[in-house]
Amino acid sequence: MTPGVSCCTRAGYMCTIEASMTDYRTDQDQNITTQQAMTGLPTLTESSIVPKRSIAGRALVAVIAIMSFLASLTTGAVLLVRSAAIDWQSDVAREITIQVRPTPGGDLEAEVARAVEIARAFPGIGEIRPYSKEESARLLEPWLGGGLALDELPVPRMIVVKLASSDGIDLAPLRKILTERVTGASLDDHHAWIERMRAMARTTILGGVGLLILMLAATVLSVIFATRGAMAANRPIIEVLHFIGAKNGFIANQFQRHFLVLGLEGGMIGGGLAMLLFSAANIAAGMSVGTAGGDQLAALFGAFALGIGGYVAIIVQIALIAVVTASSSRWTVDRTLEAVG
């Protein structure tokens, strides 16, 4: 196929252009027929209409990654503290203490044995652990020193009772029986401690949720402004697409898709790093079990285990950030299109 023949089959349009553009054609052009051009040239793949790797795009990914990382850390920390607070509360609530005080002329060992028997017979009671004389002495050792002769002191004996469930049982009958049948016995259900623990846990969780809301708001706002900044560089593209007859929906979809990918990319980098950090902390906590520091941390924060729920929350957060990024780009495209007509 020669250029002349091929062009004249296109309703004279190409013929016209050929006639006026002969001066421009280089030797290469004149030696290449259309067919050759279509088959002999490297593949002309179509690039994305929105530039994939711009400086503004990379900066946006970095901002999203940093904010996602911080937001994910906050989410994870809040979930850990919440779970630890619930565990502390539950541990305390599941435990009651029976105290048997020595009475003049009374047999403390017999009173303790009776109290254990009564408690064991009461429904809803799990494990019972009476502290022996030696164990009681060891409990007092830090304050009173070693080699303590307990017989000379009116030291009460403790019986730690674990409840079978944390649902709570009515302990009033048990308290009444113990008072009636065991001399010097009293029951402490840790009510005051539980209330204080509950208040502390509630405050901790509320504080954490407040912090998380602030962090998410900061993340969303930074993502919106960073996206709008990145979009400013794309205004000429929006205008050109508009002038050559692209519909608003087409233009908005191009940018929305592109920015959704950028949002996901940044979110996955930041959120992924946070998830890795929590996994590493979990492994490190597991390895430090038995050490003083490890046990202290475990008592405060558990095993640093986020659980499936925590990881799902971070993944949802990544998706949310990607959606915010895409929506911001769409909003900016709409505003730009309104400005250009």
Binding site: T26, F243, G245, G249
Partner: protein, 223 residues
Amino acid sequence: MGEGLVRFENVGLRYGLGPEVLRDLSFQIEPFSFQFLTGPSGAGKTSLLRLLFLSLRPTRGLISVFSQDIATLSKDSLATLRRRIGIVFQEFRLLDHLTTYENVALPFRVMGKDEASYRGEVVELLHWVGLGHRMGALPPVLSGGEKQRAAIARAVISRPQLLLADEPTGNVDPNLAHRLLRLFIELNKSGTTVLIATHDINLMDQYDARRLVLHEGRIHVYD
């Protein structure tokens, strides 16, 4: 007065609460015609061009393009109508991250056409405008003349009925300007209505065509 390809009736335009930049414009652009739009800087050429390529709506009066009153059209309908109008900008407005081939093919992509259906046509046109060997080149490495030819190729690839050019020779040397004018004349002869906005008297003197002269927001037509 016949229908015309484009019809303006008592059109006025103002930006916001400012003064009218265009006043009482009434004229027609007939199918297959060729005209220059000229006037001093600040006379309103760019505003009139924006009205012509449907990027602005007038604050008063009637504009009919391809027999359709643009005031009654939705944004999507305006976009569809815009596909029948080719635009060449003085500053080319090529997308720097797309190759010459991709820039010229852009009007087909926004129409949602499959690449296989237009690839041959784009390659062919690029050869005819002398850019066959520059198909894979990015605009920043093209010369001014090459950029302008790529911009013209993009404007005419979808065979528009109306071709608008805003100072198309503003950034090229007189020799290239003359050859670009020849191209526009040939496109007109093949059936495309052409309007060239320019303040280059030499360019207008090279071809005897209708002149629309804007002065202080008003238009004077010299057939």
